[in-house]
């Protein structure tokens, strides 16, 4: 169990052992959130800046709570409240944060590679909370953590990721982590949003959700949007739902043990039927809870904390 990095920019950069180290450490931290006194002193005296240049509620609050439970001081910055509005470069803004002695910078930004760009230039730890369509590493980790917790293993687990894969950082982080840990990943979506180039990532591709229903252990449904940019990719949400939505009828055809996941925010009635989202098999709120533990682990390890030894079987206890 090792972790020697100050940053977490992309799951693609890390070995299976390192990724398991995070998951095992998260298991230990999950217990903290179950206590009455939800706080440990691991990051006491450290300062974390939540630097969110793209809107986010769930991820930002999750990082904020994770930092608070580790006793760090937390500052939140949004794009509209930063000097980026005045034309300051990302690097200059980040250097100013570092000059204010921020120890950890959690960044969400619309440009792929932006977290790595800062990580290479700052002494502070940089944690990627989503960089364009590239990666959202803590989301990938919390999804894997949830699978491990519920099913007891990742190796050999059949995972379908359904939706707008092309533009999804959640999908890319999931693909990286799950394939490294031996899961069988199938990407499902319209052929415009799941182009054939994805097959080079060691995954299968399907262009109809019905093809995969009887052969999955996990279905991860991504939020589908149909704003201006997507109009040339598929005709309507109605047509999407008809072919890819997890309707009640389709949910009835899957293995009862199958986990139903969604990174949020959900479009009830579009990618997922409302009753299915709240029904048996749905682990959507467990994902949110686990996100906190995973982010505590990431902040702790990137600050130089010693990994907790645990085996993957312990997570699933």
């Amino acid at each position: 169990m090792t972790w020697q990095h100050k940053d977490l920019c992309a799951l693609a950069d890390h070995t299976p052992d390192e990724l398991l180290t995070i998951l095992n450490t998260a298991k230990a931290f999950k217990g903290v959130g179950e206590r009455n006194l939800k706080k440990v002193p691991a990051l006491r005296g450290k300062t974390l800046v939540n630097f969110f240049i793209e809107p986010s509620t769930r991820t930002r609050i999750s990082f904020e709570l994770a930092a608070m439970r580790l006793s760090a001081d937390v500052v939140n910055i949004s794009a509209s409240a930063s000097s980026l509005e005045k034309g300051e470069t990302l690097l200059d803004t980040a250097r100013n944060l570092e000059a204010l002695r921020a120890d950890l910078i959690v960044i969400r930004h619309k440009s792929a590679g932006s977290a790595r760009f800062l990580a290479e230039r700052l002494d502070a730890s940089v944690i990627n909370a989503g960089d364009g369509a590239h990666e959202h590493p803590t989301q990938g980790l919390l999804d894997a953590f949830t699978i491990l917790e519920k099913l007891g293993r990742i190796e050999g687990v059949r995972v379908a990721i359904v939706g707008d894969i092309l533009f999804s950082r959640v999908a890319r982080s999931n693909i990286q982590l799950l394939t490294k840990l031996g899961a069988e990943v199938t990407l499902v979506g319209p052929s415009t949003l799941v182009p054939a180039t994805f097959s080079s990532l060691g995954v299968r591709i399907a262009h109809s959700i019905d093809e995969v229903l009887d052969r999955v252990d996990v279905i991860n449904l991504l939020r589908i949007q149909h704003e201006r940019q997507r109009k040339e990719y598929f005709p309507s949400l109605g047509e999407y739902t008809a072919r890819f939505g997890l309707t009640k009828k389709r949910a009835g055809m899957i293995n009862p043990e199958c986990l139903i996941m969604h990174p949020g925010p959900m479009n009830r009635g579009v990618e997922i039927d409302s009753d299915v989202a709240d029904g048996r098999g749905s682990v959507i709120l467990d994902q949110v809870t686990n996100g906190l533990a995973v982010r505590m682990a990431v902040l702790y390890l990137c600050s130089g904390g010693a990994p907790f030894a645990a085996t993957s079987s312990e997570i699933s206890s």
Binding site: A12, T89, L91, H109, A112, A133, R172, T197
Partner: protein, 432 residues
Amino acid sequence: MNASLHLKGGRIIDPANGIDRVGDLFVRDGVIVESLPKGEKAVETIDVAGKVVVPGLIDIHVHFREPGQSHKETIATGARCAAAGGFTTVVCMPNTSPVADSPATIAWIQERAASTACVNVFCSGAITKGIAGEEMAPIGALAAAGVVALTDDGRCIQNHGVMRRAVEYARQFGLPIMDHCQEATLSADGVMNEGEWSTRLGLPGWPALAEDLIVARNILLAEETGHPIHCQHISSARSVRLLREARRRGVPITAEACPHHIALTDSELKTFDTNFKMNPPLRTQADIDEIIAGISDGTITILASDHAPHAAFEKEVEFDQAPFGILGLETELALFLEILLHQRKALTLPQIIEMLTINPAKLLRLDRGTLSVGASADITILDPDHAWTVDKNATASLSRNTPFHGHSLRGRALMTIVAGKTIWDLENGFGK
């Protein structure tokens, strides 16, 4: 006083005249001469035994950033890059600020070049006003001002009607059209090649298809009008195949290749290093192989750099925000020799020199590119085996944006002579 020069005992390669021999070359009053008058001893004699003597190299695709962006490069510093790379003649692209779309701006550049540049600097003029792709620039006035080609390089005219009329209009002045082939609805907001690596990195893709479509258009327009169109910096395998077929049919279409498009693939972008970001983007090994095949079989007849300096602060931003472009002139010759001569053995040295001298000179009707008696004594002395390592800080450029820092290459210019005057040599730099 007669300035004279005797280059003694070198391997003289002059593809325009089919010459490849060991011998002496004489220069008097800035031009190549058969020999010096009886009894006259050369003012300077240089022993070039074991070295190669070629016509001064020509690069018809450079961005020297003046007027308007002199923090990136000036005509003076760009010219020094050329000289240090063995190039004695360059053709500047018109995407300056203001755009070189008027005789006044062309005159300004020519004056600036005459007073500050150590190599020959020719201008291309814009095809459309402001390279906006809509209204025709004053092409007749640009021709009279001395531009050697027309191009909207950096942009590509999307409106086929506008492009067609521009080609037809340019024809009466005999001005070749050079085109940056990029269909904008397909390349959209793409910043790298669309393929496996854009899929991995989540960066917007710029598909080869966007180049292929415009190459096909240009082939049809050149065929229709009978007027030459030159496709700049070809990056895609399918574009090469389209060009090959068209040239076999005798269509007046030509193409150039740049070093980076045969040296690097899009996998280099995995670190999000903006020094690997250029337009058109780095593509795949299959594209590299087809471009090299096209260079070998005469589909691509011109080699160029697309020297595109950008300041460090401009490149040191998020990948999708960074400007496209890399330095080229100082590494160009070495990269072509390393890849085409040493590694791939795709061409002979005289064939490579041909594509860097007489071929571009012929396309743009430049009175350069040969060692014929009476020609301007623009001469490059090179060693195709000289091993060296690229150092981005050892550049003559104002910028440092090269992806080749630390690369070990074989082949280098040793001395650059313009109109009989040595302006740079490897040992003394510009200081001699």
